[in-house]
């Protein structure tokens, strides 16, 4: 973003919106900076007011009431609070059901429960990456503490039938958590119409600052905290609030709501150009659901080319895209994508996936330039590949 390259990895993080930065600046330096929302004095009250205004904006984005929003340090903390907090709130129940394609934040929290003796059902997905509502209903048990299925997948972009999945859980009185980190701001997420119990969102996926997120907790849902201290955020999340960050999150949520229709239209147009252009190359396939997918996500398997080398080759040509899931590829070394494996792809294919994700400010010229670079990079790496038969 700063080195002049074309940024096509908005699923990993989005650039900070200039308007968001301007909204934040007064809380970082100058008259409004430095107040602790818990303080009784003037600066404290100003900070409290700013945080509550942000809360109202974030609530508005997803159709919630402000008192149902718990601010966190980001999507990962929100997911952990939901999974661990829902389980701890009903300690007699020792079963959890999750989709096999969850983000690492949910997967990791569930594995932690598993290590503490919980039984875990991992719901398989179809070749598009979707969980079947019937499978979910079959997995529910009297001792099921919670179910978690993400709203939209961070890798392949597939959107789940969340309303139906959450509905099955509500019928049986089982709490349902949705990770909506990729979905919020990119498609209508409305908790007044979809009966989720909790829902995680993150600021830096919608042009807000990094390090800020929220968990929606529906009124009446029992949730135990996982951080203890000063009792901020209604006791659900102790710790002094990240005031400037929350102000940015609020501004970003407000812009996302106002501009959502335009953004979706813009991104979907670019997505289709990208997909149809890339699919013209031989041995390239689109992963995820053809239509029920995020507006900005194109996820491709490229025969005979390993993802990391393709990403770095494109980087050297001035295009930043993601390999599989950005979180996994930067820390865990060399691992096949568990999402693609769950979708029934072979291990060899699961190393060959790249994710191109456009944003609200991506231009048609950039996308067309990318398609040229992509074609060059793929053919150069295929010349190198012992696995690709020309």
């Amino acid at each position: 973003m700063t080195d002049g390259s074309v940024y096509l990895d908005h699923a990993a993080t989005t650039p900070l919106d200039r308007r968001v930065l301007e909204a934040m600046l007064p809380y970082l330096q100058g008259a409004l900076a430095g107040g602790n929302p818990s303080s009784l004095h003037g600066p404290g009250a100003a900070a409290r007011e700013a945080v509550e205004e942000a809360r109202a904006s974030v609530a508005g984005l997803i159709g919630a009431s402000p008192q149902e929003i718990v601010f966190t340090s980001g999507g990962t903390e929100a997911d952990n609070l939901a999974v661990l907090g829902l389980a701890a709130a009903d300690p007699g129940k020792k079963h959890v059901a999750v989709s096999a394609v969850e983000h690492a934040a949910v997967r990791g929290a569930v594995e932690h429960l598993e290590s503490r003796g919980y039984e875990v059902t991992r719901l398989g997905v179809d070749t598009d990456g979707r969980v079947s509502p019937e499978d979910l209903a079959d997995a529910l048990r009297p001792d099921t503490a919670l179910v978690a299925v993400m709203w939209a997948n961070n890798e392949v972009g597939t959107v789940q039938r969340v309303a139906e999945l959450a509905g099955r859980c509500r019928e049986r009185g089982v709490p349902f958590h949705a990770d909506a980190v990729q979905a919020a701001g990119r498609l209508p997420v409305d908790v007044s119409r979809v009966p989720v119990s909790t829902l995680a969102i993150s600021s830096h996926k919608l042009y807000g600052p990094q390090g800020v997120g929220a968990l929606y907790v529906r009124g009446g849902v029992k949730l135990a905290p996982i951080l203890f201290g000063g009792g901020q955020e209604g006791g659900f999340r102790s710790g002094t609030e990240n005031v400037a960050g929350l102000v940015g999150f609020g501004a970003a949520a407000r812009h996302a709501m106002e501009e959502m229709d335009d953004r979706i239209r813009h991104e979907e147009g670019l997505r289709e150009t990208l997909a149809s252009g890339a699919l013209r190359l031989p041995g390239v396939r689109l992963n995820g659901h053809r239509n029920e997918r995020l507006s900005n996500n194109v996820h491709l398997s490229v025969d005979g080319v390993e993802a990391e080398s393709l990403v770095l080759f494109l980087d050297a040509m001035g295009y930043a895209v993601g390999s599989g899931s950005a979180c996994a590829s930067s820390t865990a070394g060399h691992k096949a994508s568990p999402v693609l494996l769950a979708m029934g792809r072979g291990e060899d294919e699961a190393f060959n996936a790249v994710r191109i994700s456009v944003g609200k400010d991506t231009t048609r010229e950039e996308v067309e330039g990318f398609l040229g670079a992509f074609s060059t990079a793929v053919s150069r790496l295929r010349e190198l590949s012992p696995l690709y038969i020309h």
């Binding site: 005979g304 080319v305 390993e306 990391e308 080398s309 770095l312 080759f313 050297a316 040509m317 865990a332 070394g333 060399h334 096949a336 072979g346 291990e347 060899d348 190393f351 790496l381 010349e383 190198l384 590949s385 012992p386 696995l387 690709y388």
Partner: protein, 492 residues
């Protein structure tokens, strides 16, 4: 440890050198697996021990592509020995320093593919059996200090290579692929004895080669082992390997490289025999590690060029040398287990290869006293597993595969003062034999030799021995010197 790639890596990624495949390659090598996420393939053209051309292809991460490219530059266009010496640290240096954490396997992958291509080159020259019956070229009298050392990644062979290097020799290390039971030999993601041996050689700055002897080893050692058991004999596969595989292969490579000597990490000595008798073998300084009992079949013309540097050292000294020189070597348990049966269950191994049919257990008078589940379960001298209650302990005194019978008797029935020995290999005149040893850790027994029909001998012992099994080795000594050896035959 860096967590980003150096610019050199990206340069090799975007402008890879020597990409492609050679037509008319002298060797092709591949390492890795698509399901592990990376595959490297190298083709090489070797002429007059020069690696004239290298081409490579890689499917994998940027580190693998860049490492392949850098290796092709370092190894191509020079001597084969220099190519075989290129190490992981040489590659790292060419790539501008350490790779990001978790990417080091790229170096192993491309080196392995190149080395397999060179290995393929040797196989293409000599065929699948590679070195069967290889007797060596006529030796020149150049006296050049050059040696091929057979290494396994263990401490003994590593110190052997080091001692030869320190004695001023040009050393090339070679590791043999003998069977698929080697740890990790089928997988790119697990430790592998060949990879370890290569690393060990490279850390000493020595070139390393591999030879694929699986076909030869299977036919001359493993099948022989199984067949011998099925015939009621008690074989020693280490002896077969020394007779047909290991020394022939090391000599083959030495001749290909124009090298004079071969060396192994065995505990034995090569000494000059009396009156121009040529090279002969002698017991080592460390009597607890003496391996002459399994080395008797080494052909005399190959022994003449062989060096056993460890014969002059005790095992403790060898370990100390390894520690002093900072040699990281594989942990090798002190065991006489057969290398291709790592769990030590010989009978289970044999039973998988041959059908075992039940039969009679008879006493020395021919009277049936019980049943057994297959002759392969028994060996002469065995006491356990007979399954018959008797007032005095019963021993297997004979195995008769033709009739499917096991003969049992008392311990005294195992006593013998005559051992017939065939398949002989002499280093010295048979008349000089003063004693014979019939077990790996046994004591030699004084004997006299009588020549009998078929070029075999009968050793008449001055004291009785118990449980001599056909198929075992009998090795003749004159004091410390090995006179020769052979295989125990049936007395009938």
């Amino acid at each position: 440890m860096a967590d980003r790639y150096n610019p050199q890596v990206i340069d090799h990624l975007v402008r890879p050198r020597n990409v492609g495949e050679l037509e008319n390659a002298s060797g092709t090598g591949e390492s890795g697996d698509a399901s592990c996420g990376d595959v490297a393939r190298f083709t090489v053209r070797i002429q007059d021990n020069r690696l004239e051309e290298v081409r490579y292809k890689v499917y994998g991460c940027a580190a693998c592509i860049a490492a392949g490219s850098a290796l092709s530059e370092l190894a191509g266009g020079g001597s084969l020995l220099d190519a075989a010496r290129v190490s992981k640290s040489d590659l790292e240096e060419a790539l501008g320093g350490p790779l990001p954490s978790g990417k080091e396997h790229a170096l192993t992958l491309v080196l392995d593919a190149l080395h397999k291509a060179i290995e393929d080159h040797w196989n293409k020259q000599a065929g699948e059996m590679l070195v069967e019956g290889y007797g060596g070229l006529r030796m020149g009298a150049s006296g050049e200090k050059t040696v091929v050392v057979a290494t396994s990644g263990g401490v003994d062979s590593a110190v052997t290579a080091l001692l030869m290097k320190e004695a001023g020799y040009d050393v090339a290390c070679v590791t043999f692929r003998l069977h698929d039971g080697e740890r990790g030999s089928r997988s790119c993601c697990s430790p592998d004895t060949v990879l370890f041996a290569r690393d060990t050689a490279h850390r000493m700055g020595l070139p390393h080669f591999t030879l694929n002897l699986k076909e030869l080893f299977d036919r001359r050692v493993m099948k022989d082992f199984v067949g011998s058991y099925a015939e009621g004999n008690t074989p020693n596969p280490c002896v077969s390997c020394n007779a047909h595989v290991k020394f022939h292969a090391a000599s083959f490579l030495a001749d290909k490289l124009g090298f004079e000597h071969v060396a192994t990490g065995h505990y034995a000595r090569v000494v000059e025999g009396p009156d121009g008798a040529g090279a002969t073998m002698a017991r080592p300084v460390d009597e607890t590690k003496d391996q002459t009992y399994v080395l008797w079949p080494v052909p005399k013309e190959l022994l003449a060029r062989t060096v056993f540097p460890l014969g002059d050292y005790r095992k403790e000294e060898v370990r100390r040398i390894a520690e002093d020189r900072g040699l990281a070597v594989a942990y090798t348990p002190e065991s006489q287990d057969i290398c291709f049966i790592p769990d030590g269950n010989y009978r289970g191994f044999v039973r998988k290869k041959v059908a075992a049919e039940p039969g009679e257990i008879v006493d020395r008078g021919g009277r049936a006293v019980g049943r057994h589940k297959g002759v392969v379960d028994f060996t002469v001298g065995q006491r356990r597993g007979i399954g018959i209650a008797a007032p005095t302990p019963l021993y297997v005194t004979e195995v008769r595969p033709k009739t499917g019978q096991i003969v049992v008797g008392k311990k005294a029935d195992l006593e013998t003062r005559e051992v017939r020995v065939g398949g002989l290999n002499w280093f010295l005149s048979p008349e000089t034999a003063g004693s014979v040893q019939i077990r790996y850790n046994g004591s030699p027994v004084a004997c006299e030799i009588e020549h009998v029909d078929g070029g075999e001998v009968v050793a008449r012992l001055t004291a009785p021995v118990f449980g001599v099994a056909p198929g075992q080795s009998a090795v003749f000594y004159d004091g410390e010197k090995v006179v020769g050896g052979g295989v125990v035959r049936r007395n009938t």
